[in-house]
C-alpha cells in the first residue's frame, strides 16, 4: 500500500483566496512546485495540465479535482494540495464547481509508481469523512494531514449499532425482570381463575421476561439491521423454543397461516396485474386527461395512490404512481420531493381503506374476525376523509410548486407505454381485478351461505384466483409464483407473528392490557362511565400505535398490540371493538411520520435515490411527516370518538 505521507507535503499545500481560471490556478501550482525544486520550468507544467484538462476533466465530483501529469524533467513524484476560496467551474462529472485541487506530478519514467499514488489519493478523497475534514479545517496543513492520515472511526463507533443493540437488549431484560413481577393481576372479575393466576408464578414470570426481551430485541434488531430481519426473527423464535416457552405445535399455530396464505395470494395477484400493466394503464389514462394543471396532476396521482394503496397494496401503489410522477415532474419541471412525499402520504393513508391494502389490515382482520364489509363500514370512510384532508394539506404545503402556473404537459410517452400493453391481456387483467374485489367484498356472505368459518372464503377466493392466473399464464405461471411472492418478507411475517403471539401466550399482553386499562380509568377520572374509559383507551391505542409505528416497522407494533386489544375486548369494555380500528389507523397513518415508517416510504425513497442520485434526510421528512401524521391521527381520533357508541 502506498504511503501518501511520502508524496503529499505540507510545503506544497496552500490556500488561494480568489482565482478566476484554471490557467491562473495551474500557474500558481506550477510556480510553487518549481520554487520547491520539483520541476525546473513552471510554464511547461501549466501548459501540460491545461492540455490534459482539455482531453477530459479531472473533476471527480464532490467539489474536488485531481489534475495529474507526467513530465520528462520532473525530479520526483509530488502532490500539491490547493484549496480555493471561491469555487471554480471545472466541468466535473457531477457539475459541481471545484473547491479543492490535488495536483500530482511525476517523472515520465516512474509511471508504475505514479499510478498507485494517484489511485490511493483518489480513493482517500472519495471518502466522505476525508472530504469533509479536508474542506472543513481552517489550516491547509491540517488538510494535508487529513489526506495523509484519514480519520478512522474507533471500534465502538464502527460497531455502534451492535453496541446499541446489545445495550437495549440488556436494558430490556433487566427492566422486564423488575417491572413484570410488580404488575399483579387482580384475582377477581375477568382476571379470576387459574389461567390468570399462573402469570404471577416465577416460571411464567421468567418466560414473560424472556419473551418480551426477545420480542423487543427483534424489533430493535430489525430497525438496526434491516437486511438481517429474517435471521433475527428466526433466531428469536428458535430461542423461545429452546427455552421451552412454547412447544412446536403452538408455534406453528401462532404463525397465523391463513394470514400468510392470503398475503401470499395477493402478492401473486398484484404482481400479475402489475406485469400486465393494468395499474399503470389506468393511472396513465387519467393523467392524460388533466394535462396542463399542476395541482390537478398531483391530486389525480394522489387519488390513485389512495385507491391502489387500498385495493392492491402499498408497494405497488407507490411504484406505479411515483413511476408516473417521475415523468410528470420531468415534463412540468417540478421538483420531485413534493410528489414523493405527497404520494407516500396518500399511499399510507389509503392502505387503511380496505382489508387488503396493508398486511396490518389482513392481520387485524384475521385476529379480530373482521370482514371486508366491516372494513368498508369502519375503515373506509375515515380513511377517505383523512385522504382528502392530507391531499389538501399537501397542496397547501407545496403550493408554490403547484399553483400560479400552467405547464406544457406532453403525455405522448405515456401513450406509447400503453401501446406496449396487450389489449386482450389487459381486459382479462381488469376483469380479474374486479372479480377479486367483488368476491373479497362479499366473502362474509359466502361464508354464511356455505356455513364456513370466519375468513375461509377470503383465503379461498384469493387461492382460486391464483390458481386461475397460474393456469392462464401457463409456462410463466411458475415464474410468477417463484418471483412474484416476496418469500423473504413472508418468512419474516411468520416468525414475527409467532413471536408476537408468544407475548399473549405468556401473559405479557394481558398484563399490558391491564396496565392500559388502569391508566385509562385513572385518566378518565373516578366518575367516568365505562364508555368514557373506552374513549381514553381508544385514544391511547391510536396515538401509541401511530407514533411508535413511525419509528419502528408498523407490523411488529400492531402484532404486539393485537393480543392487547383482544384482552381489552375480553375485559367487557363497552364498544371495545372500536380498538381494532384505532390500531389499524395508528399503524397505517403512523407510517407517514418518518422515513422508515412504512415499506412504501422505503420503496419510494429507493426509487428517488436511484433517479436523482440524492437522498432525503430524516429531518427533511419528519418536518412534513409530523404535520401529516398529527393531522391524520386527529381526524381518526375525531372519527372514532364520534362513532364510538355505534361500535359493537
Amino acid at each position: 500500500m502506498v504511503k501518501l505521507g511520502q508524496f503529499v507535503r505540507a510545503e506544497l499545500a496552500f490556500d488561494v483566496p480568489k482565482v478566476s481560471s484554471q490557467r491562473e490556478v495551474f500557474g500558481m501550482v506550477a510556480a510553487r512546485l518549481a520554487e520547491k525544486g520539483v520541476i525546473p520550468d513552471a510554464a511547461v507544467l501549466t501548459e501540460e495540465l491545461i492540455r490534459r484538462e482539455q482531453q477530459g476533466s479531472t473533476g471527480v465530483g464532490h467539489g474536488m479535482a485531481l489534475p495529474h501529469a507526467m513530465l520528462a524533467d520532473a525530479k520526483q513524484i509530488a502532490v500539491a494540495v490547493v484549496r480555493l476560496g471561491s469555487a471554480l467551474d471545472w466541468d466535473a462529472i457531477d457539475h459541481e464547481p471545484v473547491k479543492l485541487l490535488v495536483v500530482i506530478v511525476a517523472p515520465v519514467g516512474q509511471r508504475e509508481e505514479y499510478l498507485p499514488v494517484l489511485a490511493e489519493l483518489a480513493r482517500s478523497l472519495n471518502q466522505p469523512d476525508v472530504q469533509d475534514a479536508v474542506l472543513r479545517v481552517r489550516d491547509v496543513a491540517q488538510a494535508v494531514r487529513a489526506i495523509v492520515h484519514p480519520p478512522h472511526e474507533s471500534f465502538f463507533m464502527r460497531n455502534r449499532r451492535l453496541v446499541v443493540f446489545i445495550g437495549v437488549v440488556a436494558l430490556v431484560f433487566v427492566a422486564a425482570g423488575l417491572v413484570l413481577p410488580a404488575i399483579r393481576l387482580p384475582a377477581e372479575g375477568m382476571y379470576a381463575g387459574p389461567e390468570f393466576a399462573r402469570f404471577s408464578e416465577p416460571r411464567w414470570l421468567f418466560h414473560q421476561q424472556l419473551t418480551i426481551t426477545l420480542f423487543l430485541a427483534m424489533v430493535v434488531g430489525t430497525l438496526l439491521f434491516w437486511r438481517y430481519r429474517v435471521a433475527i426473527a428466526a433466531a428469536s423464535l428458535g430461542a423461545l423454543l429452546i427455552a421451552g416457552v412454547m412447544d412446536l405445535e403452538t408455534t406453528v399455530r401462532f404463525m397465523s397461516i391463513p394470514t400468510i396464505l392470503f398475503i401470499m395470494s395477493m402478492m401473486v395477484i398484484v404482481r400479475w396485474l402489475e406485469n400486465i400493466g393494468v395499474f399503470r394503464y389506468v393511472v396513465a389514462k387519467a393523467i392524460q386527461r388533466v394535462r396542463g394543471v399542476p395541482w390537478l396532476l398531483l391530486l389525480t396521482l394522489m387519488a390513485f395512490s389512495v385507491l391502489l394503496g387500498g385495493f392492491a397494496d402499498e408497494v405497488s401503489a407507490i411504484l406505479v404512481t411515483f413511476g408516473l410522477a417521475l415523468e410528470v415532474a420531468k415534463r412540468t419541471k417540478t421538483p420531485l420531493i413534493p410528489y414523493l412525499l405527497s404520494l407516500v402520504f396518500a399511499t399510507n393513508v389509503g392502505s387503511a381503506l380496505t382489508l387488503v391494502g396493508n398486511p396490518i389490515g389482513v392481520y387485524i382482520a384475521f385476529a379480530g374476525k373482521l370482514s371486508f364489509e366491516d372494513f368498508l363500514r369502519w375503515a373506509s370512510p375515515t380513511a377517505a376523509v383523512t385522504a382528502v384532508v392530507v391531499a389538501g394539506l399537501c397542496l397547501l404545503l407545496y403550493r408554490r410548486y403547484f399553483f400560479g402556473r400552467r405547464v406544457e404537459f406532453d403525455a405522448r410517452d405515456m401513450e406509447r407505454a400503453e401501446e406496449s400493453i396487450d389489449p386482450a391481456r389487459l381486459r382479462i387483467g381488469i376483469i380479474t381485478f374486479l372479480v377479486v374485489v367483488v368476491l373479497i367484498a362479499v366473502h362474509r356472505r359466502i361464508e354464511l351461505l356455505l356455513h364456513l368459518g370466519d375468513g375461509t372464503a377470503l383465503v379461498a377466493v384469493a387461492l382460486m384466483v391464483v390458481g386461475f392466473i397460474v393456469f392462464y399464464e401457463q409456462e410463466k405461471g411458475r415464474q410468477l409464483v417463484e418471483r412474484g411472492i416476496d418469500w423473504w418478507t413472508l418468512l419474516f411475517f411468520m416468525f414475527l407473528f409467532a413471536n408476537a403471539a408468544c407475548l399473549e401466550y405468556t401473559g405479557v399482553t394481558t398484563k399490558l392490557g391491564y396496565v392500559i386499562l388502569t391508566a385509562a380509568q385513572q385518566l378518565a377520572g373516578a366518575g367516568a362511565s365505562p364508555a368514557g374509559v373506552t374513549s381514553v383507551v381508544t385514544v391511547l391505542v391510536l396515538w401509541f400505535s401511530g407514533i411508535s409505528s413511525g419509528f419502528v416497522d408498523n407490523l411488529p407494533v400492531v402484532a404486539a398490540l393485537v393480543p392487547v386489544v383482544k384482552d381489552l375486548i375480553r375485559t367487557g369494555l363497552p364498544h371495545a371493538t372500536i380498538l381494532w380500528w384505532a390500531l389499524l389507523f395508528g399503524g397505517c397513518f403512523g407510517g407517514n411520520l418518518t422515513v422508515i415508517g412504512s415499506t412504501a416510504n422505503l420503496v419510494a425513497i429507493g426509487a428517488y435515490e436511484k433517479v436523482s442520485g440524492k437522498s432525503i434526510r430524516f429531518r427533511d421528512w419528519i418536518r412534513f411527516g409530523a404535520i401529516i401524521t398529527g393531522v391524520s391521527l386527529l381526524v381518526a381520533t375525531a372519527s372514532l370518538l364520534l362513532q364510538l357508541g355505534r361500535a359493537p
Partner: protein, 137 residues
C-alpha cells in the same frame, strides 16, 4: 450522436476496444466509471468487519488504479476521458447515467453477475439512454 459514453469498467476490460472505436466514430468523451460494489464479491462473507473493510479498500484501490491506467491509455490515443468511482452496484448505473448526462452506457455482462445478479430486462427499462451489454467471454 453519442456525446458522452458511460463506460462501466469491468475487470477483464474486454469491451475497451469497442468503446475506443465508438468514441472515435462519434467524437465522444468517455466517462470511465467504476461501481465499487460490483466485483467486490464479499457482501455476504464470513470475514470479520475489519477484514471486510480492508478487502473493500483494496478493491477500491484496484478500481481507481485501473481507471487511471485506462484514462492514460485513452488520452494517449486522443480520446477525451474522465474518471469516476462511486459506491453502488448495477442498480445505481441509472442514477449515474442520469446525473452525468450520458448518451450511451457500455457494460460488461460480468457486471450483472455476482451476489446481486440482475437480468438485463430487470433494469434496462429504467435507464435514461441506450445500453450496450457486452459478452464477458
Amino acid at each position: 450522436m453519442f456525446n458522452k459514453i458511460l463506460y462501466v469498467v469491468s475487470e477483464k476490460q474486454g469491451e475497451k476496444q469497442m468503446v475506443k472505436e465508438l468514441a472515435r466514430a462519434h467524437n465522444s468523451s468517455v466517462l470511465l466509471s467504476a461501481m465499487l460494489t460490483i466485483g467486490c464479491g464479499h457482501e455476504v462473507s464470513t470475514e470479520g468487519a475489519t477484514r471486510r473493510r480492508m478487502l473493500h479498500e483494496d478493491h477500491e484501490r484496484k478500481s481507481w488504479h485501473d481507471l487511471y491506467r485506462l484514462e492514460e491509455e485513452f488520452k494517449a490515443e486522443g480520446i477525451k476521458a474522465s474518471v469516476m468511482a462511486r459506491e453502488g452496484d448495477v442498480d445505481d448505473i441509472q442514477a449515474v447515467a442520469h446525473n452525468t448526462g450520458s448518451d450511451l452506457i457500455v457494460l460488461s455482462s460480468t457486471s450483472l453477475a455476482g451476489d446481486n445478479y440482475r437480468l438485463p430486462e430487470e433494469f434496462i427499462p429504467s435507464l435514461p439512454c441506450p445500453i450496450i451489454i457486452t459478452n464477458a467471454a
